[in-house]
Amino acid sequence: MPSEKKTKTAKPIIDDLIIRVCVGTGGLAAGSQEVIDEFAKQLKAHGIKADIVKKCVNKTGCRGFCAKDVLADIILNGKSETYQLLTPDMVGRIVEEHILKGEPVKEWLVGSEYHAFHDKQTKILLKQCGHIDPEDIDAYINIGGYEGAKKALSQKPVEIIEEIKASGLRGRGGAGFPTGLKWDICSKAEGYPKYLICNADEGDPGAFMDRSVIEGNPHSVLEGMIVGGYAIGANFGYVYIRAEYPLAIQRLKIAIADARKKGFLGKNIIKSGFDFDIRIKEGAGAFICGEETALIASIEGKRGMPRAKPPFPAHKGLWGKPTVINNVETLSTLPTIITQGAKWFSSIGTEKSKGTKVFAITGKIKNTGLIEVPMGMSLREIVYDIGGGCERNRALKAVQTGGPSGGCIPASHIDMPVDYESLAGIGSMMGSGGMVVMDDTTCMVDMSKFFLSFTQNESCGKCTPCRIGTKRMLEILTRITEGKGKEGDIDLLVELGTNIKLTSLCGLGMSAPNPVLSTIRFFRDEYEAHIKDGICPAAVCKALRRYTVSVDLCKMCGKCFKACPSGAIAWEKKKPAVIDKEKCIKCGACYEACPFNAIL
């Protein structure tokens, strides 16, 4: 560690001090920069030289447990303690008691759920996220970074392709196409130059694993690109990344510049005679650009519209040349497979789904964050053991995977293994790894309307089934949520959805009806309740809600009274609240505000 040498000039008690503060997007939003500044200020106030402070307060990428941000490790004389939910005003006491006196502030340390969250995981990809400074290439090299690239460049490209094939690695972007096979096709395709594109256009609402990997360990992505580029014979790579990820773009730019300086990118990299360089292309806000051919059109500066396949990009891709497009996670896994071997990698996971998968677990779950588990782990273990169960201990209703292209897994299937085949079997998909947990306060009709309005909005408009079909489906769903549903609407949705899936041009249209079809399959009764009884069982659909206060559950705290924007709630101390139906605008503010679930 670079900090060790310099700290010798400081007071003996802080002979060896490292403070690691998470500065991912989650951490920064929770105020980690303020915490870092406060640490620096406090340490300086205690007579510790500024340059030491600068070196011992490390920024690290996301460690996944975003629910308890700001997280910070204090490593004092080799002993590490982790604090959670830090705010700047807590720093003073930590410096006084922990750093100067060696007594950690016990009540602020992470609890058992932090350990439970991490213990069940198998970290390959996320291993270094949260431990190394993503803006320091030496930190990456010190932990064995770029060894995979060195090893790969000493082999023949065909040997690497065989190794990746043997590892069983499948694309982590959604469809799960075998990576080795994709490379094989492209390496044999005629045409020069060839291109490698890293797809970092993580558009799925509810997924943020690619962002976190780039923010936490950008060099692993670059190293993976070097390996992939060498294997397929490409001398140039693009990273197509969403403009909505400014921090990730910034870290990637730093990483590319540093890698060039160290000779990992550019001409004759690592003195192997192989040239490889990488450029960043910022996306401009179109979900469809995650689709391979649309992504290529976008890099070429055109409207991001997909085209019919074949020819596949491996034969005719960017500028009409053979192109491989790999997802961030796929690329980031490669260096470890090269260094540790295909055998090791394929020993993890199930028969057809090898290795680990990163999931972003969000929604109504206690421990939101980023997790990495072996393929085939049961959904129950993910939701309850790692995720800690639903918020406020409410009942789990379903888990949505695969974003707007996927479907819902009802709570009754909680014991199913999570791998490519099992998810496809239940009408969902792996997708990029977003996992949104829903409890009994989530309305499934509203959810499918949400996803469909997303895909409808993002439909590029090129093919009719997707452009018009999704529009009609959305109209029907809107009608149902407004209490105007008709007899036969459900069957109409199924018929439309099935046809859109069969006739759309690209993956977006082919999967757009999935959320609707899967919720109809498992929650048909909820649709029927909306249409026939005029009730939204989860009390989400505004037009169908009628708010009342349960006199039994009401603790007379007055929170609903304060939350109500229209003055529709009458409340006095020691009296239960009453809602005036005339004045109520059905905004749901009281429902959200009630800590006792007394608003029905």
Partner: protein
């Protein structure tokens, strides 16, 4: 003034293939939106039809053909934010800022409220971005505070 800004952008990209989107991004960065004049300026010099620029500008959500408010509030409409109740908060913000129905900018030009599919910060949902600063775990009260904070910094 316009010419000078455009010259700088042209300098950066004139040799590259497929730079239409990058140029549009830079135009927007410089001007805050995509002025029609700027598009014709580039179309002429690069010998690319203006329709290619307008085609891309209208296709991608990121580009704006009209000037925007002084303060930009971006509401995340991702799944996690939706599940955690972002919709009522967005409505409240729009109401508080008196943004007319079907518009994104308040009539006094002080605020623009937009939505984005997902900012990838689902762990702190619901998320808002106010002038590039991320506000997580939003509630009705925090939204009002955010507006006050933004208004104070940039003012009228």
């Amino acid at each position: 003034m316009t010419d000078k800004k455009c010259e700088q952008i042209l300098e950066k990209y004139h040799k590259d293939k497929g730079s239409v989107i990058s140029i549009l991004q830079d135009i927007q960065e410089s001007f805050g939106y995509i002025p029609e004049d700027a598009v014709f300026w580039f179309a002429e010099r690069l010998n690319i039809p203006a329709s290619s620029f307008f085609g891309a500008a209208t296709f991608y959500a990121q580009f704006y053909l009209k000037p925007r408010g002084k303060n930009i509030i971006t509401a995340c409409c991702g799944t996690a934010c939706h599940v955690k109740g972002s919709a009522p908060i967005i409505n409240r913000v729009r109401e508080d800022l008196k943004i007319p129905h079907g518009e994104t900018t308040s009539s006094d030009g002080k605020f623009t409220v937009e939505s984005v599919a997902c900012v990838g910060a689902c762990s702190i949902a619901p998320v808002f971005i106010g002038n590039k600063k991320v506000f997580g775990k939003m509630t009705m009260e925090k939204a009002s505070e955010m507006i006050k904070e933004l208004d104070k910094v940039k003012g009228v």
